[in-house]
Point group: C2
Chain length 383, copies 2
């Protein structure tokens, strides 16, 4: 177990009963109780139940006469919803909750976990990067994630398009952890529904927010802190100069984790963030061997891929439609994938995970609009 | 003037007269007198003339009864040949000889210089890299060289194909120094003859070996030490894992110079050497600004491009044919330029500096051999 900045689990009663669980959840879901406040209250009052009792008095003292904490019924409904999905609730200091997260002053007060909770006991690396990744970037993400999986690491990422999805996909046979910005059952982007449902069985989905929560812009940095803190090293594969991946990398540095980045040519805008990180001291990585060397590991344990669990027709994590229509997503992803150099359609089909007919439909529209050019020989380019 | 590891010019009489010049040249060209021995003899005997007098005795003591130093006639012939080219002879401790070179224990005993000797007084950076550079690499070399030239630096390189030639070409309007492996008048590779003759007027050609000397394999590392020592920083743009550019970079480090490298994607073999250098501590550079920042310069002097001097029909540095037929060179360069992703013919024509008919002839042969594939739309790819 790692040394923790916090003195968990000593300063309060660790959650053991169902009653404790309910109190933790009520405290976490009470209005104006953010993660940092949650931990402060827990520490000051010794238990979640005692903190809940104290909360109205604290609010009154601060001038809010009508404050009341989250009602038990709301927390019970969340517990039922989580259990219907087949998820487990992990609480700070309780079983399964990753000790690494306890180092954060704003450690998630609760975590919903669906799938292989055992993966939280494995050493972990994050593989993150651009949503509008190039084909080369996605290939690199797959290679790194698979090799790190084979080396015995659980690969953590954010289930986004591009690099994240490629990393999860390649690491799934070994074990991958997707940290979600919204609820466990709200898959964003929607095109990753199938991937999410396979991770829910063969890997692990984690969410700090209640089931059913639609992710909003402010949720993503919160989610990113969990990725950065969970991973011993954050590997950035393609990231633009101002991008969420860079923010996650900075958080990882703040938390004392290692940051490593895949370099790229300076004339490729998608390499700008990674090159910047390397200039700022991140380890330049060319593959998993560099990662393992930088971590000071002589030889890592070898993992065998697990047999692919068939996704059930009604997966436990039944997906809701995200805020963006899938068709718009495809169009943006297709444009992002293409550059001035012609790319074979086969590569595009593989990278987008779509069939030839779907690609063809999309291409026709974009060709008419002058956004892409079709070259004889099955090649496509931008502009 | 830089502090020198050597105590030049104190320990021997600096060359001032034509007689001194002849003695220096005779000592330098005497059998078994390498650069290190040259300096040892000069130091031990106080002048080149005294060293020449002592040489037969030293040889006899070492068991060579029949040793005689380079005859005056041979050295006189070299002096005449150099002067016919319009070149100047630079001698250690003498006017024009770059002080930075005196830091080497094997500083060149003589240097032939053709063109703007004033460039040796400017701050200098080397821009070097792969002969089989990609289009992107050549673009980067041109950009870096031009920007460094504009910032007031003389750009040093080796007049090789690929990165070297691109760097010289772009830096020529500001001032560029080509250090040659053979004699000043033996341009290798032959396709750089025109470039060399323009450098001879608008820039500076330097050669350690006598005019007329065909460069041999062993001459290249000797030449590279001059590049590494002349430049305050060596910038590597594309280099494979085991390449001459890396050896030059290592020499630069040995000499206490800065080494900087342009990163590239790990799946691009031509980036392997640069990425390795960055992992080993070289500064990652994305452009001239990064170079200037790493050199600790606030703002460098701005240079204006000089008007392009028209090359004379019979250039001073009349070229001899190099050891490799130009046609074989073209074929190798064409193959090197192409990768699995189709590249427009126009780009290839520009990068190779050939006309469409020449390219077409070459492509037909390579297509028949299955080495390259022609795609509709004027695109070529490897394999």
């Amino acid at each position: 177990m790692k040394t923790s900045l916090f003195s968990y689990p000593t300063p309060f009663t660790p959650p053991t009963t169902e009653e404790d669980e309910l109190s933790f959840l009520r405290l976490a879901r009470s209005r104006r109780v953010g993660a940092t406040t949650f931990h402060r209250l827990l520490k000051d009052h010794g238990s979640a139940a005692a903190a809940l009792d104290a909360l109205p008095g604290i609010a009154r003292a601060a001038g809010s006469a009508d404050y009341s904490p989250c009602p038990p019924g709301v927390a019970k409904a969340e517990l039922s919803a989580g259990r219907r999905l087949g998820a487990r609730l992990l609480l700070p200091g309780g079983p399964g909750y990753p000790a690494d997260l306890l180092e954060l002053p704003d450690a998630p007060p609760v975590l919903w976990a669906l799938g292989r909770v055992d993966l939280l006991a494995a050493p972990r690396v994050a593989v993150i990067g651009a949503r509008n990744a190039s084909s080369l970037g996605q290939r690199m993400a797959r290679k790194l994630a698979e090799e790190m999986g084979r080396a015995g690491f659980a690969v953590v990422s954010g289930l986004a398009r591009g690099i994240d999805a490629a990393a999860h996909e390649a690491a799934l046979p070994f074990g991958t952890i997707a940290v979600m910005a919204g609820g466990l059952d709200v898959i964003y982007p929607p095109e990753n529904r199938d991937l999410a449902s396979r991770i829910a069985t063969g890997g692990l989905l984690l969410a700090e927010l209640p089931p059913g929560t639609e992710p909003q812009a402010r949720h993503f940095p919160q989610r990113n802190r969990i990725i950065a803190a969970l991973a011993r090293a954050t590997l950035v594969v393609e990231a633009a100069a101002r991008s969420g991946s860079l923010l996650t990398a900075r958080m990882a540095l703040d938390y004392g984790r290692e940051v490593m980045a895949v370099p790229g040519h300076p004339m490729d805008a998608r390499a700008a963030g990674c090159n910047m990180l390397i200039r700022d001291g991140a380890v330049l990585i060319r593959g998993a061997e560099d990662v393992i060397e930088a971590m000071g590991l002589e030889a890592a344990p070898r993992a065998e891929p697990r047999p692919d669990p068939r996704p059930s027709p009604q997966p436990a994590a039944a997906a809701k439609a995200g805020p963006m229509a899938a068709v718009t997503g495809l169009r943006a992803r297709l444009l992002a994938l293409l550059g001035p150099a012609p790319t074979p359609e086969d590569t595009v089909i593989r990278d987008l995970g779509i069939d030839a007919a779907t690609l063809s439909r999309e291409v026709i529209g974009l060709e008419i609009e002058g956004e892409i050019t079709r070259h004889p020989g099955g090649l496509l380019s931008r502009g």
